[in-house]
Amino acid sequence: MTEVKAYSKLGEALAKGEFILTGELEPEKTTDLSHTIHEAKEMAPYVIAANVTDSPLGIVTINSMAATHLIQKATGLECVWQMTVRDVNKLGIAGMIMGAHALGIRNVLSLTGDHTALGDMPESKPVFDLDSATLVKLVREMVDKGTINGNEIEAPPTLHVGAAANPNADPMGAEILKIGRKAEAGCEFIQTQVVYDLDRTIEFLSEIKKYKVPVLLGIFPMKSYGMAKGFDTFVPGVSVPKDILAKWKSVKKEVTDKKQQKELYDQYNYEFFKPFITELRKKDLLAGIHCMAVHYPRIFPKLKDIIEN
């Protein structure tokens, strides 16, 4: 058996086959990360690592590599640096990967990134020199071979590289073959887009099992009815099931006490996600859960409970 190298807690847990939980942090358009750091601290006891987003929706925020470094430094929580290929060319990204290592970053998630045209600087030049699969390939070359384009790196970086997958994608066939490419490129873990449809998720995960890449399932526990409704309306390609929306709405309408409302939302999330996750685990389709709900750190103890029991 070949020795599995682990450069991070995440890498180690995946290698050992532990069932893990990761979270997500979304730094904003600011130089002050105190809110994000506060959230990271709340999340830290429950997750093995947290992703740090890279200007999602093409809306510019503080640079994700800098934010990842600062959050790790301030909290000790290991992060997964999200790097999109939208804003930097191959040469720039290769430099950033070395820089990220030097700053103590040990996990990177390779993403395409939402097009610049969608964001708040639509006049920016979209780069996309690499794509999400070739970024994975680049990281693996730098880490495993210690080279870039065959040229030696004096002290090569050591990072684990993951990629995204979308179980909601239609046609699913194209998405599955695309994940095959990412696997071929050397992707070490997958974090999926948010899912709510169990049958579809089972079908999808069963299809990609052949690539033998550990999958962390993307879930989005909804903090409030407004959040659920907003997610359903504004996130393209993902819809929140009608019965969930109705249930969440009833909390908003029928429960006046804020504290009680919160408890009910948390409880309902627990009740929805527990059987969902348990079913997928039973079928041996998952390596863990990636919770994408930002600004909802109080849900983590419940999620931890789900994965531990």
Partner: protein, 223 residues
């Protein structure tokens, strides 16, 4: 193949001419691509000549040439009207960007002092469905991938020109850019390769484009 052009806003053109204090204008109109796009040809030449006169310019002559972008054609056509060229403060071309630069190239020795302006915006190399419906399907990348992608160009039909799509922005076969109205190029490729029974080609991990070959002043010179 047609170089697709659209009309510049008139005011922008007049401003450019005024900025150079132009009085006497020679109009050179393209009889091929721009004629098809209704930004040149005989009609365009007449239209511009009227507009210029209304604005107080003196139109010395208007000519319609086949292939303004062909140096040989321009040399011949401009030589025939050399007296008009001499009299002109400026040339206004109703062609694509190639036309402007072709005229400059041809006049550079004999009349380097004459500025050449364009009345059009050059959009892309286009495929014609019918007049008024032109589509970008190739960007001339210099290393055509069509044999591997079922004949559909990822560089042109994918909004991010990805080599390994579709990206997470695809929803129901549509692209995130432009409000999910346009087809995702990588789904077009997927469907096409599926029809051809060649999804093995779709599965292939493709390297990024080699910009050392694309990004420069390119030329094709074989004689």
């Amino acid at each position: 193949m047609v170089v697709i052009t659209t009309k510049k806003p008139e005011e922008e053109v007049f401003e450019a001419l005024n900025n150079y204090k132009v009085k006497n204008v020679l109009v050179v109109s393209c009889g091929v691509c721009a004629a098809l796009c209704q930004t040149g040809g005989t009609e365009g030449a007449e239209e511009w000549s009227e507009k210029l006169k209304e604005r107080g310019f003196n139109v010395i002559n208007t000519i319609v040439s086949d292939d303004v972008c062909d140096n040989r054609v321009m040399k011949k056509d401009l030589r025939k009207i050399d007296d008009d060229v001499k009299e002109a403060d400026a040339i206004l071309t109703l062609s694509c960007g190639l036309g402007v630069q072709s005229i400059i190239e041809v006049l550079t020795k004999t009349h380097p002092e004459i500025p050449v302006f364009t009345a059009n915006n050059t959009e892309f190399i286009g495929m014609t469905e019918r007049i008024g419906r032109f589509y970008m399907r190739c960007q001339g990348c210099g290393n055509c991938l069509l044999n591997e992608t079922g004949g559909i160009c990822p560089i042109t039909t994918c909004a991010k020109a990805l080599m390994n799509g579709p990206c997470g922005g695809m929803v129901d076969g549509k692209c995130e850019v432009g409000d999910y109205e346009k087809d995702c190029g990588w789904i077009l490729i997927y469907n096409r390769l599926k029809e051809l029974g060649r999804l093995d080609l779709f599965s292939k991990l493709r390297d990024p484009l080699d910009w050392s070959k694309i990004g420069h002043q390119r030329e094709v010179v074989w004689r």
